[in-house]
């Protein structure tokens, strides 16, 4: 199969190049090295008692640490010598929008912190509303943030999370936390 038989992915030429900079790639390589170091530090605390076999529970952790260290070093080398090889364009825009990221992250983290106390429906609706507001801002919707979109998003959030909650608690009998003990809210 020759490459010429495959047409290039549509619109590849007009889109801006989004492959991250070598400096960012170096950071990723260093990140992998740090993970390897963490793995090695953890592996020190695992017993090497092999029992009847020749291989103990610390073998795979050490293997992971060593291979990840090699991969990390190689990634750094690639990044420093012209960038990751054959890195394909991830798509989207060259620079990250931080605002929308903060909104969506807030939604997810608020959900994680509150779900045990305020219940699934309220917590998930909050998560939905924050996330959708962030995504509206990401796509530059002029009406994002208006009272109307807030009301609309709260209503949609409730309309999704309440039936999901009921389907799981009533129909499938799976425990999800509620605000009350009734299983309906």
């Amino acid at each position: 199969m020759s490459d010429s038989s495959l047409p290039a992915t549509a619109a590849a030429d007009e889109a801006p190049d989004c492959v991250p900079s070598p400096r960012a790639q170096t950071a990723v390589g260093i990140g992998v090295l740090l993970v390897a170091a963490g793995m090695a530090a953890g592996a020190l605390q695992i017993s090497s008692d092999a029992g009847y076999g020749g291989v103990g529970p610390n073998f795979l952790p050490w293997l992971c640490a060593v291979v990840l260290a090699l991969c990390g070093a190689w990634l750094v080398w690639e990044a420093r010598t012209g960038g990751f090889r054959q890195a394909s364009d991830p798509g989207g825009q060259p620079k990250a929008d931080i605002g929308p990221l903060v909104w969506v992250s807030a939604g997810l983290l608020v959900n994680a912190s509150l779900i045990g106390t305020v219940g699934f429906i309220v917590s998930c609706t909050l998560c939905y509303v924050l996330a959708v507001q962030g995504l509206r801002r990401a796509s530059r919707q002029p009406q994002a943030g208006s009272a109307r979109t807030w009301a609309q998003d709260v209503a949609t959030g409730l309309l999704i999370s309440a039936p999901v909650f009921w389907a799981f608690t009533q129909f499938l009998a799976i425990n999800l936390p509620g605000l009350t003990e009734t299983g309906w809210l």
């Binding site: 990751f84 997810l108 998560c127 996330a131």
Partner: protein, 512 residues
């Protein structure tokens, strides 16, 4: 005849009203998931894994198989109608499918991909029916060294052969293996990487990793990088194939099935190679007017072949999953997780210990294919409407379902924080072009491979030479090395030949 009787018994289980309903809901949900951008079958199954706690095993496996299957049908609808490159499986379909849709033949493209999926899926299911028991009989004879080497083969192909860069694939694989280390060691019971957290003693759940890497990461990525992307949608036309379309589609479907099935059977994974191979074959075989349509107005063979190859591969991939317990894709890895939730380890014993379950599952594949044909041909208009859901609402809604999957497992808020962290990891991996399948396969297969390896070395009384002493295991070692070395050697050889030719040409120039 033994197989036939077993299959009939399977049908008897699968056509009970409750199981038919599970299959139908699974197929419909799968199609919806396939059509909607942002979530794939792996995430859909992962998000619904909590139901394994309550729903009986046969019903839930039929349900999951429906999702697995349905997503393949639905995915092609999106790749034909939307002008965005979707997941790899439907990327090739998109190339010609998009062109056909642009020249007003969306309906024919949708029809040939749905019918092609049906033909390929059904033929491949027949292959599964006939060969899976044989493979299982054979696999019973395999010992830990052979199993371990089979898993190494799966790891190698998933990380080093498929994908752009072997280095990034390996990094992803070992990241997955590292994640799989967290928790209590299976053999000795020693705690590893738990940092004193009780939550981590059970290990990191596959649901968290799959939902985090695919669903949450997708939403975060959309928020960070894709806000300004504008999508255009092709107009639908009547779902209809002319006599000429049929004549051109038939051979392509069969060739696609023929190419796809063997690729699914081997524990190597990936639909990229068979679909591209089918595309290249169709392009080469087309003549005259038909060939001129490739890359211009869209050739129907270019949709029919790859789509059939895709479905045949995906279906046949159930053979290594069910008989060897080796998943080769994200979705089969998550399906393996579903089996494990029931305390069932897929492998050769599955066909004897859980025969009723296996045969009901296989029977449900036949039924599911028919259901999907009906769901996707006359009712395709309904699914197309799903593409109108605005992106902010769709993506934010996905987060609610992600919460159900991650939290429903064991009601721990800790898991939701972990889910967010894994989501951010997924964004980084996507941005820096690291493949995700090796992470999921490594994580789920890692602990199993480790156990086989330690048993094998124990069998060899502490010696690693055991892997070279047994003929099957030795053969597998050779295959793994070949898979790693041959493609690279060929590339080096080709480069050298080219360099020599250039050198020759230059020195000839010098003389003149």
């Amino acid at each position: 005849m033994e197989i036939f009787d077993a299959l009939m018994a399977g049908f008897a289980t699968a056509i009970t009203p409750a199981n038919l309903l599970w299959a139908l809901v699974g197929c419909a949900l799968g199609t919806a998931v396939g059509v909607l951008p942002g979530i794939g079958p792996a995430v859909a199954v992962a998000m619904l894994l909590p139901i394994t706690a309550k729903v009986e095993v046969t019903a839930s496996m039929i349900f999951f198989a429906g999702i697995y299957y349905g997503a393949m049908y639905g995915g092609s609808t999106t790749s034909i109608l939307l002008n965005t490159p979707g997941e790899t499986a439907s990327m090739v379909t998109a190339m010609e499918g998009n062109k056909m849709a642009k020249s007003g033949r969306a309906g024919a493209a949708l029809a040939t991909s749905a019918i092609g999926s049906f033909v390929a899926g059904t033929i491949a299911t027949v292959v599964v029916t006939l060969f899976a028991p044989t493979v299982a009989d054979f696999a019973v004879k395999l010992g830990p060294p052979e199993y371990f080497m089979l898993m190494v083969l799966a790891f190698t192909t998933v990380s080093a052969v498929l994908g752009q860069s072997a280095l990034r694939g390996m990094t992803a694989l070992f990241l997955g293996l590292a994640l799989g280390c967290v928790g209590m060691d299976q053999i000795s019971g020693a705690a590893r990487y738990t940092a004193g957290q009780m939550e981590l003693l059970d290990g990191i759940d596959i649901v968290l990793v799959a939902v985090g890497l695919f669903a949450v990461a997708e939403v975060l990525y959309a928020a960070m990088y894709e806000g300004r992307s504008v999508e255009s949608q092709n107009t639908m036309s009547r779902v209809h194939m002319s006599a000429r379309d049929w004549k051109r589609s038939w051979p392509a479907w069969l060739r696609g099935t023929l190419i796809g099935t063997p690729f699914g059977c081997i524990p190597a994974g990936g639909t990229e190679i068979p679909t591209f191979l089918s595309y290249a074959t169709e392009k080469k075989l087309a003549k005259g007017q038909d060939q001129a349509e490739f890359g211009t107005t869209g050739a129907i063979e270019g949709v029919a072949g790859p789509e059939a190859a895709n479905n045949a591969t995906v279906t046949a991939a159930l053979i290594p999953l069910l008989t060897l317990g080796i998943p080769t894709s994200n979705t089969t890895a998550v399906l393996l997780g579903a089996f494990q939730n029931y305390g069932i380890n897929p492998g050769p014993q599955l066909f004897t210990s859980s025969a009723a379950l296996v045969w009901a599952l296989i029977a449900s594949l036949y039924i599911g294919n028919v259901m999907l044909l009906v769901l996707n041909l006359p009712m395709v208009g309904m699914w197309v409407k799903l593409l109108k859901v605005p992106k902010p609402q769709l993506y934010a809604g996905i987060l609610i379902f992600a919460t159900v999957g991650a939290y429903g497992m064991r009601q721990s808020a800790f898991d939701l924080f972990l889910l967010y962290a894994i989501g951010m990891l997924g964004v980084l991996m996507r941005r820096f072009d690291f493949p995700t399948a090796p992470v999921v396969v490594g994580m789920i297969l890692g602990p199993l491979a480790e156990a086989q390896m330690r048993n094998a070395v124990a069998l060899g009384e502490g010696s690693w030479v055991i892997f070279l002493q047994r003929p099957m295991s030795l053969a597998l070692v050779a295959i793994v090395l070949a898979v790693l070395i041959v493609p690279r050697a060929l590339r080096v050889w080709a480069a050298r030949k080219e360099a020599r030719a250039r050198h020759h040409y230059q020195s000839a120039d010098d003389i003149v």
